[in-house]
Symmetry: C2
Subunit: 385 residues, 2 copies
């Protein structure tokens, strides 16, 4: 008598598990044909999926959808592209070269927008989306896992929000040294996602832990706690109506919870906030009326002033340049060069006398994750110094 070999066990298990499980379509996930020369499975795929495949040299991506029963299959990735059906009912599309970093995409099956099941799920546009990481060596070093470094832990936590009337989920990056220093206190950066994403965006799509691990290990950034909340107001399924404003939730419920739960400095000099896109706007809306609680802020692709009258925007908080300069330590504004650029507004503010602005442009990138990974990598070293 011996332990069942893996194949037999596999068969038994698949048979057993078939009842409650969605049946597998291995053909979709493990095509028998080898990948074309130069292509490899994207790092964003589920671990058994060969496609989508990426070519690290040409930066092209190749998509494959097994849908013999469909009439039209399209790829939605920076525009809509018709895929081409082969004789087996498999649909194919190879892209032009893409920008390095993370991109959302979707598949349209007879006009119904769905996830590509070769991809892991990434929350974007307020639902679970497909995503693809386009690799490139030198650019990615700072946001890749480096086995030589000490690693912080990201903690998944639910805290009770009185205002929201429900438990809210946060992810908290705790630096590697935290537990080895049980008497040391740490500054805190609150880091917010953008529209349609959620509190997992920075850790999953943004690789923020790798970025922070590298900055802290090299001494470029001081060890800090990074709290990543949701910028959306979820309600429980019995209520489903927005209650409270997210700024109130942050200031009245989240900050006290974090200060109670972690060894933090609780003064404004040791508290920063930043966000990307809508999260950058939420940062301005949260920090400006609460400058007694925050001394540092950053807005990544998220400095929005409708009519451009930036000096009078945000309830006039920027009007008295001297007062603002004295109160805040850093006003970090960043953008990709290929998206709407707040450069002119930044110039107006500087001319007006605001001298704590640091303006960062990410070359050749748009409203996308590479812009924000770079922004965090520039911003975090400037904090708490």
């Amino acid at each position: 008598m011996k332990i069942l070999n893996k194949c037999v066990i596999g068969t038994i298990l698949i048979a057993m598990l078939g009842v409650g499980y969605v049946s597998a379509q291995p053909g979709q996930r493990r095509p028998e044909e080898p990948l074309p020369e130069g292509f490899k499975p994207a790092s964003t795929n589920t671990f058994l999926s060969q496609y989508p495949a990426v070519n690290p040299i040409t930066q092209q991506a190749m998509f494959r959808v097994n849908a013999p029963g469909a009439n039209i299959v399209q790829l939605q990735l920076g525009g809509q592209h018709d895929m081409k059906k082969d004789e087996k009912g498999v649909w194919w599309y190879t892209t032009e070269p893409l920008v390095v970093g993370f991109h959302y995409y979707a598949i349209l099956i007879d006009s119904v927008q769905v996830m590509d099941r070769g991809s892991e799920a990434y929350f974007g546009s307020n639902w679970e989306s497909s995503g693809i990481e386009i690799p490139e060596g030198p650019e990615g070093d700072y946001y890749r896992f480096n086995r030589e470094l000490p690693h912080g832990h990201i903690r998944s936590i639910y805290y009770w929000s009185e205002i929201n009337g429900i438990e809210r989920h946060i992810n908290v990056y705790v630096p590697a040294e935290y537990e080895a220093n049980p008497d040391k206190k740490y500054p805190v950066l609150y880091l917010v996602h953008g529209w349609g994403e959620d509190e997992n965006g920075w850790s999953v799509q943004g690789h923020m832990a790798n970025i922070m691990d590298g900055l802290i290990a090299s001494g470029k950034a001081v060890p800090m706690i990074v709290v990543m909340p949701s910028g959306d107001i979820k309600t429980n399924s019995d209520v489903r109506e927005a209650r409270g404003d997210v700024t109130e939730i942050y200031v009245q419920n989240l900050v006290p919870y974090v200060d109670k739960t972690f060894r933090t400095y609780t003064d404004r000099e040791h508290r920063a906030m930043a966000g990307l896109s809508r999260g950058g706007f939420q940062t301005c809306r949260t920090v400006f009326p609460n400058m007694n609680k925050f001394a540092w802020l950053g807005t990544f692709s998220g400095f929005f002033v409708r009519d451009g009258d930036v000096i009078n925007a945000f309830d006039g908080v920027l009007k008295d340049a001297d007062a603002f300069n004295k109160q805040m330590n850093l006003f970090f504004i960043s953008t990709g060069t290929e998206e709407r650029n707040p450069k002119e507004m930044v110039e107006v503010l500087k001319t007006h006398g605001i001298n704590i602005i640091v303006f960062h442009e990410s070359q050749g990138t748009a409203h996308e994750w590479l812009t924000w990974r770079r922004a965090l990598n520039e911003f975090a070293p400037k904090l708490f110094k």
Copy 2:
């Protein structure tokens, strides 16, 4: 001049973000019609989705797919069900009463199996699946978030596996009291998922943190660290071939990493392992040849012996009942009454003299999450005592 109001900002943002983002289909997610009497959005939905909806009294679920361009739309949930199209091209299906707890499901659009985009993504069957939680009051109390209790944190960690040649992801439940007791050491339970799921299964689908928080707060279980690894051997996208055996990875890479990283007791009396389904089988395969490292084990819906000759199975480790009883403290075997039941094999082992078996049957449940939530709730209190 004032801060842009939310509507305007919303419009600007959606316009700005439209470039890089998958365009939204709000109609699919927020139908204007109110939910039918007695139904509410499932707790497993993305936060804007009204459907699928559940009726807590009748335990029925109602599915909705907006797919005017499709010819056939089906729901795959314990069988395949044709959905019915209304005059607007929206497809509907209402189920019979379902078992309480978590169920995977999929949608078939013209025979292509896809996720329902109303649902959050749950990794099952080796890809991102839709899931629905069927609520029930009394059953769920022990696995729901309880704001009155101290809460452990789940840490998301990558550790380097020399055998796997890649960083591997684990989730680690650290009890609420851990940081308040910087000199205290803790026992460790290694808890493994089943086939087609991943290291997130126990924390997401299983609500293990709520279960452990409750058991520890009530004094039923001793405070312990729970390590949830992947039972699959992922490789990086350059390799994509299985290297090493998962047992070797656990014993040679994971256990030393955990003992180095956390304040653990490192003797066998303070180390347990359990798993569900294939994870239960992996537990037997890991613990039996390493009984110098583990003194407690549990297999939930995962006690598989092909020909039923249980006394001679697993390389004969159960043959000498006295030796086995002396060496191990607990051999916990559980099952749902509605799945393949190892009851007879358990009886044979007991008659044979193995007296450290605890056998648990989950009434009325099959190979599904309610079985395993109950199993953990029964198993954890018996450990390290």
